[in-house]
């Protein structure tokens, strides 16, 4: 596919209300040309509504939607030239695989021999060469997913939308398809918007992630930035595991349960805030190390172990601070780590980088 056919998408002031509920609350969003952007959020956050507005299946109350320079907010769905992969695939049960994939080509007046050639080529791309004559109900879930994808890209649309396309697959196949979909995107270069509630899927596949909640975009950034520097409490809690602690901040230091920590980003105005720690960024200090003062760039936090949970590939250490709030640390379950684990009731020192000491605004 010609990457030049990819277009940017500009969403401005998009609003959709259902009674008193704002499913989309004046959303602004810019998707770059050829980008793989994921809409990530819990169910009911408005991510699917946004996708359906893009596809033209939901009519918003107000707002603007541009594909490239073209305003499409009032354009009928069948004129938008978007490929879409539905959550349940929506493959036509009365057509075989080839007829399903050829359907958009037939609608565009592509001649039969040319259509057959393109169908075979795209089936090759999704690794289903030779499956053209199969009936849809003879396919496995993963194969249906690929056919749905083939049907959505065969007519070389400007934009591809995917609505939780992997949610019906089992875990192993899902992880395999994540990598495969991403490789396919690299190959095709089509502007792609992907909806999921699975944060790991979003982190694995996306160029950028838009975290959505309550009909609003909470943060739009690269997977790394979203994970490392969440913009607010919602993002911090929704993405990955996190320990959130109440702290008081002043300058580049904060006080947490009687202990002073240096923070990643200094803040001028002193006051209460929320400290976010990722469990896998905490390490348990040995006895000799714990006796000394932390080096520059490091923070130490003292706590008492309450529980140690063995989880196969990792081990979770739960501990309590002096003020009763709990802190989690996760370590790779190597033989050495397992041998040196503290016991419940023992005091423990956690060490972590100042860069991982992220302070968020209190409240939402």
């Amino acid at each position: 596919m010609d990457p030049r056919s990819a277009v940017p998408i500009a969403v401005r002031g998009l609003r959709k209300t259902y009674g008193p509920v704002r499913a989309l609350d004046d959303v602004d969003l810019d998707v770059r040309s050829g980008e793989f952007l994921t809409l990530l959020g819990p169910s009911g956050s408005g991510k699917t509504t946004l996708l359906m507005v893009l596809a033209g299946f939901i009519r918003p109350d107000q707002g603007s939607l541009k594909f490239g320079a073209e305003e499409v907010i009032r354009l009928a769905p069948h004129k938008r030239d978007i490929g879409m992969v539905f959550q349940n695939y929506a493959l036509f049960p009365h057509m075989d695989v080839a007829a399903n994939v050829a359907y958009p080509l037939k609608l565009r007046g592509v001649r039969a021999p040319e259509a057959a050639r393109r169908v075979e080529a795209v089936l090759q791309t999704v690794q289903l060469a030779g499956y053209g004559a199969r009936r849809v109900d003879q396919l496995s879930g993963g194969q249906r997913q690929r056919v749905a994808l083939a049907r959505a890209i065969v007519f070389e649309p400007r934009i591809v939308l995917m609505d939780e396309p992997l949610s019906a697959l089992d875990k192993q196949l899902r992880e395999h398809m994540q990598i495969e979909l991403r490789q396919l995107h690299n190959q095709l270069g089509t502007t792609t918007i992907y909806v999921t509630h699975d944060q790991r899927e979003a982190l694995t596949m996306s160029d950028r992630i838009a975290v959505i909640n309550g009909g609003r975009i909470m943060q739009l950034d690269t997977p790394q930035a979203i994970y490392e520097r969440p913009a607010n409490r919602f993002v911090a809690e929704f993405i990955g595991e996190s320990t959130l602690l109440k702290v008081t901040i002043a300058g580049d230091r904060c006080e947490c349960a009687g202990q002073v920590l240096r923070v990643a980003q200094a803040r001028a105005a002193p006051g209460s805030a929320v400290l976010m720690l990722r469990p896998e960024r905490l390490r348990i200090l040995g006895a000799t190390e714990a006796g000394t003062a932390p080096e520059s760039g490091q923070n130490w936090l003292q706590a008492q172990v309450t529980n140690v949970v063995y989880q196969g590939d990792s081990v979770l250490v739960q501990a309590r601070l002096a003020d009763g709030s709990s802190v989690n640390a996760r370590g790779v379950a190597g033989r050495d780590t397992l041998a040196a684990l503290p016991q419940p009731g023992q005091p423990v020192h956690f060490g972590f980088s100042v860069a991982d000491t992220v302070v968020l605004a209190d409240g939402a």
Partner: protein
Amino acid sequence: MGPEVVALAPHAAGLRRDEQVERWALLGLSAPALVLVLVTMIAPVAWLFGLSFLADDGSWSLEHYRRMVEQPSYARTFGVTFKVSLMTTALCILAGYPLAYVMSQLPRRVATLCMLGVLLPFWTSLLVRTYAWLVLLQRQGLINEWGMALSWWDEPLALVHNLTGTLIGMVHIMLPFLVLPVLGAMRAIDADYLKAAANLGASPSRAFWSVFFPLSFPGLLAGTLIVFILCLGFYVTPAVLGGGKVIMVSNHIANDIELFFNWGAASALGAVLLVLTLAFLLLAHRLLRLDKVLGGGHGL
């Protein structure tokens, strides 16, 4: 049986016996239904079939069948029967399919109300409904009086005691038999199929004909067959609204028995109608591969 055999296949014999007991129990449970079908359906049909080969003096003969071939009135009767059935079925499709479509698109609560309306005809006796049409359609009936009072037409229209009246009555009675299976098939169509069609570039009418209609077709076919077959044996409505001008096979049978006490002739007619109906089903089966279409094997 030695202990080492038991060790190789523990409880095999007992488990096999359990399975047999279960199978006999199942047969035992369905026995009353089988007997009922045998007594109320198979036996009378076989008896009538036998009657049709008996001449008036009690000897075996093909007399009744010969008469059917020789007398043109019989051919005419079968012609009328198929014509009326085909027209009724066609009118039911024309009225019923769009109705079912609208109902399938309505919100649930409204659709339920509509469903009550569709089922309304089932609430009263067929005879009562047929006479009600007589009241509405006759020369001094409600429709003619209003039509003339509003100056839509000057002379009373011949709406009853003819083919028109028969068709009106039969379509009204048959409509639910078409709407129900069609609506069932339409309700089963996932709305995402139509969204997918639109997304892939199909205009609403194109999406309807390429996706919605084919997916609703099994229901339409089922309804069409039910209506057509029911029509073939219809008696009351053509008798009352046809005014003696629309003689279908069942009316002919009734005449043979009531007027001429000729059970043999009536049985022969019944046998031929049954065979023709079966032949029609077989033809439909061959042409449309009914087992596949009606078997519901198209679903995901």
